[in-house]
C-alpha cells in the first residue's frame, strides 16, 4: 500500500463508530474494512443485498453465492441478513444507513461529487453511487489530494459529470480533512504534518479554517 493510501485509510477508519451501519464503496474504501477494530460492533451493508459482511473466507471455503458489491467472495457474520436489491436500496434511500465511505475523482467546495465518468473515456456506469450519496446519513469521500499531474481534486466547481449535488459531508485526503457545512467548506484537520499553507496551495477551493487548528500540526 502506498503511503498516501495508508494515511487516508487510517484516518477514514476513525469515522466508523460503535453500532453503525456502514456502506463502503469499491476499491480503496473496501480496504477500510480490515482496519476496523474487532471489538467494534459494526454492520457493513453491501448494496447487492446483504447486511453484516464478515471477513474474507478462508481459502477453500469461498462461496460463489456470497459476494460483496465489488464481486469479491466474502462471508456473513453472525446476525447477518440477505435481501433483494430493491430492499437494499430502500435501506439506502430511506436513510437507514449511517455512513458511506466512497472514492472520489473531484469534490467541489459546495459538496458536489464526481466519481463515475470521464467524458471521452469508456463509461462503465454509476452502479449504486448516485443512490447512496443521496440516502446515506453521512457521506465521506476519500481520495488523494491531487491527481497524477499534481492538480487539485478539491475545486470551486467539478469539471467532471456529477454523481450528486451538495451531497458530501466530509472529504479525507492524504493531506487534510474538510467538512461541508451550511457556512461553506471548513478545514478540520491537517494530516501527516502538512502545513496549512501547503494544503491551501494544493486546494483549488475557498474554505475557512477550523479555529482549533493553529498553524498545522
Amino acid at each position: 500500500m502506498s503511503d498516501s493510501r495508508e494515511i487516508i485509510i487510517n484516518r477514514a477508519v476513525k469515522e466508523i463508530e460503535e453500532g453503525m451501519v456502514v456502506n463502503l464503496g469499491i476499491g480503496m474504501p473496501t480496504m477500510i474494512a480490515d482496519k476496523i477494530p474487532a471489538e467494534k460492533n459494526i454492520f457493513l451493508h453491501s448494496e447487492n443485498g446483504m447486511l453484516g459482511i464478515g471477513n474474507y473466507p478462508i481459502e477453500g471455503e469461498e462461496d460463489a453465492d456470497l459476494i460483496n458489491a465489488g464481486k469479491e467472495t466474502v462471508t456473513a457474520k453472525p446476525g447477518a441478513a440477505f435481501f433483494d436489491n430493491a430492499e437494499s436500496f430502500a435501506m439506502i434511500r430511506g436513510g437507514h444507513v449511517d455512513l458511506t465511505i466512497l472514492g472520489g475523482m473531484e469534490v467541489s467546495q459546495t459538496g458536489d461529487l464526481a466519481n463515475w465518468m470521464i467524458p471521452g473515456k469508456m463509461v462503465k456506469g454509476m452502479g449504486g453511487a448516485m443512490d447512496i450519496v443521496q440516502g446515506a446519513r453521512k457521506v465521506v469521500i476519500i481520495m488523494t489530494h491531487t491527481n497524477k499531474a499534481g492538480e487539485a481534486k478539491i475545486k470551486k466547481q467539478c469539471d467532471l459529470p456529477l454523481t450528486g449535488q451538495g451531497v458530501v459531508n466530509r472529504v479525507i485526503t492524504d493531506m487534510a480533512v474538510f467538512d461541508f457545512t451550511n457556512e461553506g467548506m471548513v478545514l478540520r484537520e491537517a494530516l501527516n504534518g502538512h502545513s496549512i499553507e501547503l494544503i491551501k496551495e494544493n486546494t483549488d477551493a475557498d474554505f475557512t479554517i477550523d479555529p482549533s487548528l493553529s498553524g498545522g500540526q
Binding site: P57, A64, I67, F82, D84, R93, M122, G125, G127, M130
Partner: protein, 231 residues
C-alpha cells in the same frame, strides 16, 4: 398445475425477436446460466436486455453480446465486459445507464403495477436531464418509469412445481424483482423439491410470479473476484 417445463429449448422459444427481457443476477452471482446459454444457442435477436450488469466477455449475458443478439442494454454497471465497450463505441449497442437503486425500483414497480416513482438518485447529474423534476417537502426528486419485461429469466436455489422459489445468500439480488416484472417468467433452480417441502414462511418468490420452472444442470457459478484469507 405443475409449471415444470419439458426443456430449456422449449421454454426459451417463448422469447421472440425484439422482446424486452429482464435477467436476474449481480455480476455473475445468481445468473440464470442455463437459460442464457440456450438463448445464445437459439440466436433470438434485437433484444432489449434489462440487467444490473452484462456478464463477462465469455459468460453470462456476454454470450448474447458476442452473438450480437442485444440491441439495447439497460444496466447500472457494465465495466466488466470488453465486448460491451467495443459494440457501444461502434454504435451497435444502445445503452441506458440507470443508478442501481433506481434500476431495482423500476423493475419492482413494473411487477407491482406502479407506473413510476420519484427518486432523489441522480438529481443534478447528467441522468436527470430531460426528466420531470418535483419538489416534495423541500427535497428535489426526478421521475423514473417502471420497467416491465415480455419475459424474465431468473435463477433460484430451490423451487417447487407450483413455482415457489427460495434463493441462496446474495444470489437473490435482482431475481425476485425480475420474476415479478416478467410477463412470462422462466425460473431455473438448482434443486426441484416437492410441493409442501418449502415452508410457506420461507418462500422468497411466491409461485404466482412464475410461469415456467426448469431444473438447471452443471452450474458453473463462476467467481469474478476470488478473495480469501489464510486460515
Amino acid at each position: 398445475m405443475t409449471k415444470v417445463a419439458s426443456s430449456f429449448t422449449e421454454s426459451i422459444k417463448n422469447i421472440k425477436d425484439g422482446d424486452t427481457i429482464i435477467v436476474g443476477g449481480f455480476g455473475l452471482c445468481g445468473i440464470p446460466e442455463n437459460a442464457i446459454v440456450e438463448l445464445a444457442k437459439q440466436g433470438t435477436k434485437n433484444l432489449t436486455v434489462v440487467s444490473n450488469n452484462c456478464g463477462v466477455a465469455d459468460w453470462g449475458l456476454g454470450l448474447l453480446l458476442q452473438n450480437k443478439q442485444i440491441d439495447k442494454m439497460i444496466a447500472s454497471y457494465v465495466g466488466e465486459n470488453k465486448v460491451f465497450e467495443e459494440q457501444f463505441l461502434n454504435g451497435e449497442l444502445d445503452v441506458e445507464l440507470t443508478p442501481q437503486g433506481t434500476l431495482a425500483e423500476r423493475i419492482r414497480a413494473g411487477g407491482a403495477g406502479i407506473g413510476g416513482f420519484y427518486t432523489p438518485a441522480g438529481v443534478g447529474t447528467p441522468i436527470a436531464e430531460g426528466k420531470e423534476h418535483k419538489e416534495i417537502d423541500g427535497k428535489t426528486y426526478i421521475f423514473e418509469k417502471a420497467i416491465k419485461g415480455d419475459a424474465a429469466l431468473v435463477k433460484a436455489w430451490k423451487g417447487d412445481p407450483y413455482g415457489n422459489l427460495v434463493y441462496r445468500k446474495t444470489s437473490r439480488n435482482f431475481n425476485p424483482l425480475a420474476a415479478a416484472a416478467g410477463t412470462h417468467t422462466i425460473a431455473e433452480v438448482e434443486e426441484l423439491v416437492q410441493i409442501g417441502e418449502i415452508d410457506p414462511d420461507h418462500v422468497h418468490t411466491p409461485s404466482i410470479y412464475v410461469q415456467e420452472l426448469l431444473l438447471g444442470k452443471n452450474y458453473e457459478k463462476r467467481i469474478e473476484r476470488l478473495t480469501v484469507r489464510k486460515a
